[in-house]
């Protein structure tokens, strides 16, 4: 059983063990014999022409695994899917990253990958919204769009020759993220889904689950329109920027943001996959129990969340049958 870094007393430990065992029992039938570790031989029938995919290698005429994980087969393709690994980007993934450098006609972003991602100036909508060639003046004004340490949301466009990512932020919902929190979770907890942008209407909170493990929780913006923001920025001077940002967010929204963020933290400590339903469950649990926001990070709440999740999943599987 994986180690969970919590200080639990005896009863809490037992309860947590029980809940985790229940979750295991719900899912252990699938593929338990297909898990392999490094240098395990993968059983294949030698007459077929097997295609060897990621995580495999050929040694002495046998196919062996090079990573620890689960063996997947698609027709004649055999590959090993690792359960906990570094972030592996795909084209079309939603990424949340932080600007580390403003370079010539591009921004370099840190995205929890082995290399920094590149966001070209031409892959970004211009402040005035017109489609035109980027001139030298645009290049000089790059810092007005994004600066170092800004948090940005973008989409993977393609891979460059050296393996680094090229991003694009051409749609209205991509761009600079303000008035919120950035959380880091292990990237394998965020599975690829149909939607990664969630708008929690009743709390006025935006939740962006980046596939690289960076999660953004912040105040809801209708259109991340750099046009209006630029005009505002130009009329007021830069030194009032930081105070202006924190002024406009109402207290209730800030509380909700913190609650959602803590819910995500709890789930990531427990190692549960992050989906909207699970996060909302944890959120509702904490509000029904009237827990203070800081109490959510205590060990008691962790145990409660684990039990609740076990309950929810068992009721789901019962419904399916």
């Amino acid at each position: 059983m994986r180690e969970i870094q919590l200080s639990l007393n005896q009863t809490q430990k037992i309860r947590l063990q029980k809940a985790l065992q229940k979750l295991e029992s719900l899912h252990s039938k699938v593929n338990s014999d297909a898990s392999v570790t490094v240098a395990d031989t993968i059983p294949i029938s030698l007459e077929d022409s097997i295609l060897k995919g990621h995580g495999t290698a050929e040694r002495n005429g046998e196919v062996v695994a090079t990573v620890c994980g689960v063996v997947e087969r698609v027709n004649m393709l055999v590959y090993v899917r690792s359960l906990r690994s570094r972030f592996k980007p795909e084209i079309g993934d939603i990424i949340v990253g932080r600007v580390v450098e403003v370079a010539q006609k591009r921004w370099k972003l840190e995205i929890n990958f082995n290399q920094d991602a590149v966001l070209m100036l031409s892959s970004m909508n211009l402040p005035d919204g017109i489609q035109r060639r980027r001139t030298a003046v645009d290049e000089l004004n790059m810092r007005n769009v994004f600066e170092e340490n800004d948090v940005i949301c973008a989409e993977v466009r393609n891979f460059q020759n050296d393996g680094s990512l090229q991003l694009q932020a051409r749609s209205q919902k991509y761009g600079k993220l303000e008035k919120g929190q950035l959380l880091t979770v292990p990237p394998y907890l965020v599975k690829r889904q149909k939607q990664h942008f969630h708008h929690l209407v009743q709390y006025g909170v935006d939740l962006i689950l980046g596939c690289n493990g960076f999660i953004w929780v912040g105040e809801h913006c209708d259109a991340r329109d750099t046009v209006a923001e630029e005009q505002l920025n130009n009329t007021e001077e830069q030194n009032t920027k930081s105070t202006r940002v924190s002024e406009n967010v109402p207290l209730e929204t800030r509380r909700s943001i913190c609650r959602v963020a803590n819910a995500v933290r709890v789930l990531s400590t427990l190692g549960f996959s992050l989906t909207l339903e699970v996060i909302l469950e944890a959120f509702n649990l904490s509000s029904t129990l009237n827990l203070g926001i800081d109490e959510m990070l205590g060990s008691e709440f962790h145990v409660l969340v684990a039990e609740k999740e076990a309950e929810r999943r068992s009721s789901l599987t019962k419904k399916k049958r």
Binding site: D48, G53, H54, T56, V74, Y79, E155, S171, Q193
Partner: protein, 493 residues
């Protein structure tokens, strides 16, 4: 008229001389030179590749793509015209008053059903497999008279039929199909029948032969009819005289037919199950069917394409693109589904590079070549594997109610240039491979260039699934075909 005279990049003006070797009317020539351009009709077709790439992004909305396309725009433009037509037809319909319309409608529907059921029975009875042994010389047959107007529906169950005598039958040689592949049972046959006809000469030496009932006036002639025009066979057979050229002999034969008919008004039909020993289950089903036929209702085109992607594991049920789907996303120059299936079945892995190149050439060659030489045995084996895969893909689409004709789809992959491309991959010169096939040079060059595009996309696809051997194989293939005159950028070197 379109085109360009002069050398590209060097001449900015050119002279074009039009030489006509046939008599050409001035208006025609004027239309050729000054006429309006061809109207631009959109042939937009939403392919699986487009759909999968849209599903990859969070915002992808394929319906939006279709809605904003030029194809949709043209369809919308045509709506007012179609509405006008609908109005006109509706007025026409309302102006026609038929008494007891409902009863009549029911009766008409029943007649249509009856006719279609009868046609099904006929098809089975007259499939060459069963009826060939009975097409002997001298047998009396019941034929359809020509001149039945197909467009005006008849309100009676009885067709206009007449009788005749079989003289001979022959197999039809069809030009487009490869004769060797067709079994004798499947080909078409024509039957030579002696019956009463009316011959009319139409204008410029063309004879029009109409088959008419025996009692009407006309001459006894031997005509060829296809099996589909025979409605039933009789168990009665006449003794035919050897020579049928004299007119009296033919008249006498027809008179004999009339006598037999007068004695046996039904014409003594052959019982399909008893005499002809038709045992097939489909026949029994058709005969016993009483219920109305189900009509497949047409669903919208888009709704069915994602379903077939899901069924073949390209996309999960939550519309997240899976591994197979990612591979299909990379391939846009050829049929992505069949090619992905081929790759995942390991077919491309074991064969040699030249053979793989020839197999891939079937995807890029869309023209129909007459009298193409059959490729050698190994290549033919690969081609049949390709056809099996294509058939499976088409059947899957059919199950998901996409309107597709399986055999049409499978036959769209042609093996005509397999030999030529094999030779090119082995290193022959261009004039050598032109001696192997009869295609135009330009078509062959275009096909090989397109093949190189497909190979580049396959390299990306192999990289995404992690198969390094296959990737190296594709790269080797590219280096083998990318050479000499086929890939020269310009002929003015």
């Amino acid at each position: 008229m379109s085109g360009r005279a002069g050398r590209r990049g060097i001449d900015d003006r050119g002279i074009c001389i039009l030489m006509v070797d046939e008599k050409l009317e001035p208006p025609t020539a004027k239309m050729m030179l000054k006429g309006s351009a061809d109207s631009l009709n959109s042939a937009f077709h939403l392919s699986y590749n487009m759909l999968l790439n849209q599903m990859r992004c969070e915002d992808g909305d394929p319906e939006n793509l279709l809605r904003n396309s030029f194809y949709q725009f043209q369809a919308d433009r045509a709506i007012p015209d179609l509405e006008k037509q609908v109005k006109v037809l509706e007025e026409e319909r309302d102006s026609m008053i038929i008494e007891e319309e409902d009863n009549l409608k029911n009766y008409y529907d029943l007649i249509q059903q009856y006719k279609s059921l009868k046609k099904d029975v006929c098809d089975i009875v007259f499939s060459p497999k069963y009826c060939l042994p009975f097409l002997q010389a001298g047998r009396i047959v019941c034929l359809q008279c020509t001149g039945i107007n197909e467009s005006s529906p008849s309100f009676s169950i009885e067709d206009k039929v007449t009788w005749g005598v079989i003289i001979n039958f022959d197999r039809v040689k069809s030009f487009s199909e490869d004769d060797a592949s067709r079994k004798p049972e499947d080909s078409n046959y024509t039957v030579d029948v002696l019956t009463r006809c009316v011959v009319s000469r139409d204008g410029i030496a063309k004879k029009n032969i109409k088959i008419v009932p025996l009692k009407e006036s006309g001459e006894p002639l031997v005509v060829s009819v296809s099996i589909s025009e025979i409605t039933s066979l009789s168990s009665a057979r006449l003794y035919l005289s050897k020579d049928l050229l004299p007119l009296e002999v033919r008249e006498n034969t027809l008179k004999k037919v009339l006598e037999i008919l007068s004695r046996n008004p039904t014409g003594l039909p052959l019982d399909p199950e008893g005499d002809m020993k038709i045992q097939s289950n489909s026949y029994k089903k058709a005969v016993r069917r009483i219920e109305a036929l189900e009509h497949l209702f047409e669903k919208h085109e888009i709704a069915n394409l994602p379903l077939s992607s899901k069924n073949s594991k390209y996309v999960t049920s939550d519309d997240v693109v899976e591994l197979k789907g990612k591979v299909a996303c990379e391939i846009s120059s050829a049929d992505e589904l069949t090619l992905t299936e081929l790759m995942f079945n390991g077919v491309l892995k074991d064969i040699k590079v030249e053979e793989m190149i020839s197999l891939l050439s079937c995807f890029v060659w869309q023209e129909k070549l007459q009298d193409a030489a059959k490729p050698r045995e190994e290549l033919d084996l690969l081609f049949s594997q390709l056809q099996d895969t294509a058939r499976r893909v088409a059947k899957l689409q059919l199950e998901c109610k996409v309107q597709i004709d399986v055999e049409n789809f499978v036959s769209s992959f042609r093996p005509d240039i397999m030999e030529a491309v094999y030779a090119w991959a082995k290193g022959s010169k261009f004039y050598e491979i032109m001696e192997i096939t009869q295609v135009f040079e330009g078509s062959l060059i275009r096909a090989i260039r397109r093949l190189e595009e497909v190979l580049q996309q396959l390299i990306q696809a192999a990289k995404s699934i992690g198969e390094t051997e296959l990737e190296a194989k594709f790269e080797e293939a590219v280096s083998k075909i990318k050479r000499d005159i086929v890939f020269a950028a310009s002929l003015y070197l």
